[in-house]
Subunit: 302 residues, 2 copies
DNA sequence: CAACTGTTTTTAATTATTTATATACATAGT
DNA sequence: ACTATGTATATAAATAATTAAAAACAGTTG
């Protein structure tokens, strides 16, 4: 009952990390400074210090705080205890939606689902409210929720909207002055793509975050909160998509890297026509991949 | 404590309305049918019937339900009791944001605000979560909320995004076959605009809903849930905007109607260039009006 | 026997309560 | 004096409890 102490546990583990980097016998900084370093309030810092003292990892009296011995892994809170409910729920829920064969437009039973996900009905409800902005679940006026599902229609509408936004970005991008920071970012992205391509056999899983970075960078030139909001939806969908759709993963990513490189080159040429074609080509591939992962369940996972 | 009985009260008032249209002595239909008519469960219908019986408006035994006398206004639940908390909150909150001079990026104090709005902190929290999709408030990772506010930047980004979407719709619309339902809807809208223009002196306030209808119709051709979602945000913003910014209201609406008529004509000509110009012209005006209502508070309200 | 009502059970939404965390203020130490 | 700590208070986020509403089931009646 009552709020969880995830923040305390996370802060404690973070504190252990920084203590591990210090030699035994060193003095710790003041509560206020530690609080700022950990990004939490002094209340939490004091609770952490109390626990550290009780565990005889530090000595603490007044403003003298000395490290007695380096902490080890067993002192930490286990990771699964630290993970907040809302993060767990996103994984559980999306896994449930994307991997199992729930029919579209199913009415959701909150109390039943919350038991399955081992959380309170309220926690699930909060999650659904936040999540409803993505259009995969919807709240009924009469009360209750329906799962609209990650259907082929959803993938198509998502892709169409995405293409509209990204082409707008591209049009704006190619007209930007050469001293705009985006050009440097593109240079860096190009280097990272080439580096990844060289070790594609072992590092092909790293493509996912590179894909995210490229599209986020391109859309950043719009400097528009609605674009950013939509891009974050795209990031989430593709994050889980890459995570679970392992079929032809290496080949797919190799092709995508080439498309990205062509895309970057076209942008750097600052030729609107060329950039548009390259953008459309890559976005079409992405759309196809996404679409293939909806529909039949057997196209999901290897 | 525990959930409100708004649904019951609303259903009761609705039932009174339908009883008022019936002659005394007539038999009511079955619980199941009444439930379907009112859009509620049988549980509510039975509660409503019980109250009606207690008030001697109907007699009820077993399956015989007879109307004894026509109900009058005093039998109803007062309207303000019926209005649900979430609806009230939207009004209160937007009025607070748009009319008072709250500085952008202010940290919101949920418990304080909830007292001002006379609701529980939790109800306000629920509202904020739902409302955050519009980008006017934002949840901090560390906890708590900030009001980003209805600033000039917000108005600009909103308008830019809107223009991108609506131009996409227009491009798709002018290419549609003549038997597509949108053409009939545009004909009807044109008639309604002309009718409104003839009585503009008295009916100028009706423009707001007409504006909403036109843009919703145009964007409906995309048949995309993300477009619909964004259009509903636009509708909300303009709804409150029209409601509170009364300066030059009649003149403004007269101009807008002409722009709408030109816009509709251009669409009906099915000429992409003409339609694009008309769209841009009207959207630019809308952007200016919206922008003028941000910034200085004295531009708000007469 | 089909439609309707009576009764019970399940699910949803809201408030109250509790614990965690943040912040403000007063006091002590260097 | 400044800065750190000790203490008190305010605010946030979670659960638990409570009531409304829906749905399921069983029994009745025309």
């Amino acid at each position: 009952m009552a709020r969880t102490n995830d923040r305390y546990k996370t802060a404690f583990n973070q504190m252990l990390d920084s203590l591990a980097a210090m030699p035994a016998g060193s003095e710790l900084s003041s509560e206020t400074i530690l609080a700022r370093q950990l990004g939490v309030s002094r209340t939490i810092v004091r609770a952490v210090l109390e626990r550290l003292q009780k565990m005889r990892i530090i000595s603490w009296r007044g403003r003298r705080k000395k490290l007695l011995k380096s902490p080890d892994a067993s002192d930490r809170f286990p990771d699964d205890e630290v993970e907040s409910v809302s993060v767990r729920l996103e994984e559980y829920f999306l896994e449930w939606v994307l991997r199992t064969d729930v029919a579209p437009d199913t009415r959701l039973n909150v109390s039943l689902l919350s038991r399955q996900f081992s959380c309170t009905p309220h926690a699930l409800h909060e999650f659904l409210v936040r999540f409803s902005r993505f259009g995969i679940v919807e709240r009924l006026k009469t009360g209750g929720w329906v799962l609209r599902g990650f259907t082929a229609e959803y993938a198509i509408e998502l892709s169409e909207f995405r293409e509209m936004i990204e082409l707008t970005s591209v049009r704006k991008l190619v007209a930007l002055a050469t001293d705009h920071p985006v050009w440097a970012q593109l240079d860096e992205l190009k280097r990272d793509h080439i580096a990844l391509l060289e070790h594609i056999e072992v590092r092909y899983r790293d493509f996912s975050s590179l894909d995210d970075r490229l599209h986020t960078t391109i859309n950043s030139v719009q400097d528009n909160r609605f674009t950013r909001e939509f891009q974050s939806l795209i990031s989430m969908i593709f994050h889980y998509h890459y995570q679970w759709n392992k079929r032809w993963e290496r080949q797919r990513n190799t092709v995508a890297i080439s498309e990205h490189l062509a895309y970057i080159d076209a942008l750097q040429s600052r030729n609107w026509q060329a950039a548009q074609s390259a953008a459309l080509a890559h976005l079409a591939t992405a759309r196809q991949t996404l679409l293939a992962s909806t529909g039949a369940a057997d196209t999901l996972v290897s």
